[in-house]
Symmetry: C2
Subunit: 235 residues, 2 copies
Amino acid sequence: MTTRKTASRSEGDRMSAICHGIRRAIIEGALFPGDRLPEDALGESFGVSRTIARHALGQLAAEGLVDLRRNRIATVAAPTPADARDIFDIRVALERQVVGHLAGHLTDAQIRELKDIVRQEHDARDGPEGASIRLATEFHIRLAEMTGRPILVRYVTEICYRAGLSLSSLGRPHSSECAISEHLQLIDTIAKGPADKAAQMMADHLEAVASRALLGGQEARGRDLVSILAPYRGD
Amino acid sequence: MTTRKTASRSEGDRMSAICHGIRRAIIEGALFPGDRLPEDALGESFGVSRTIARHALGQLAAEGLVDLRRNRIATVAAPTPADARDIFDIRVALERQVVGHLAGHLTDAQIRELKDIVRQEHDARDGPEGASIRLATEFHIRLAEMTGRPILVRYVTEICYRAGLSLSSLGRPHSSECAISEHLQLIDTIAKGPADKAAQMMADHLEAVASRALLGGQEARGRDLVSILAPYRGD
DNA sequence: CATGACGAAAGTGCATGCACTTCACTGCTT
DNA sequence: AAGCAGTGAAGTGCATGCACTTTCGTCATG
């Protein structure tokens, strides 16, 4: 009933709306590795048919966020520690490139925008726990977008989401405090410092994030998908 | 009629069969950037319904090999020179990692396998023109697979196909001769040499391939999709 | 009490049908 | 001859339906 048939408004692909919703739910830790994602529940939750939900799951599987096995219910992907190691190595390589392209070329407006994200990170310090991870991720993605290289952006975005999933799966609760000051330092060094110093700082930052997250790994099962996804329907 | 209903034989996902077919057709230059890929023609060509063809196109679009615009016929992606530059930069970063993991750890069997691929490249020197590009690509993908890191493999594979598409789109006919000797040198250095030397050689090799391919850019239109894809149905 | 068989319920795999959009072509106007 | 509206054909977007597979609870049996 909530679905409008010939919606005159720009409806920028309902499939990507599902993808966005699930990505966010994953990155914020609302969805856990192993959680089931049945096509009809998904479709119902977003007000579309199974066909579209299925298509969305295919995309998410291609991004490595969802496990898709034939004749089986799709699940949120469960990265192994080896996967996580792999993901962070690749992430370092890609974000080094980002920093390399950006070093010394940040405009004042860009610096302001980045600092604003960090400020939001600061404000979310003791709000809902997922928000800080999402903001930290957004920082890195915005950084990539500032290079103006769409393909690099795509890969950085994807690997950031995978890293976020790995963290929520294998990491401990998250110590956001340090990431904030590191992000501020990063902005400064990218703006001023020589490219290789900035790249190295990025690599160190990511290594720190990765190693800060070891141990742990909780499980949760049988929670209600529709209520989990409810906040992620809109945007 | 050609479709068998309950095919008892292992049919490892018919969708990925389409993806494989199109990827190969693209990498071998049988499909050109801008070529149309209508869902029903695709489905008919592979003996499946539009549903599956559509799904396959979605995957290929996620990989950047296909352009998908709402209400429009899918086309083979047409990378711009800027895209190509971007793609090769990322490729260098990723393949540096591959070499870094592999340096000094190649087994004799692996060295033999790699040399065998290069031998095939040599044999295909003046065979069908697409074959040498495919083999060169296979060399790099096998190299990645030898790291045993599935996620790295996925990204390297994807970026290799994109690079292949860029080459077929923007490159000149291809001078395979040099790539062959460079591949042989690479094997040696990865097997023996220090990691950073091998990584640098890989970077240089890829830069050489990239810069060898500038200029050019031909167009072809209105060719018959079914006959183009016929050789790519089976495997 | 454990165990295994069976059957219904839940879920996926896929083709088909219909509404809507875009495309290509025709013939009319200037 | 150059544009341009109109119109059928071609193509996509999506929901639905049916066959098949998996899952899970139930009950009979050792």
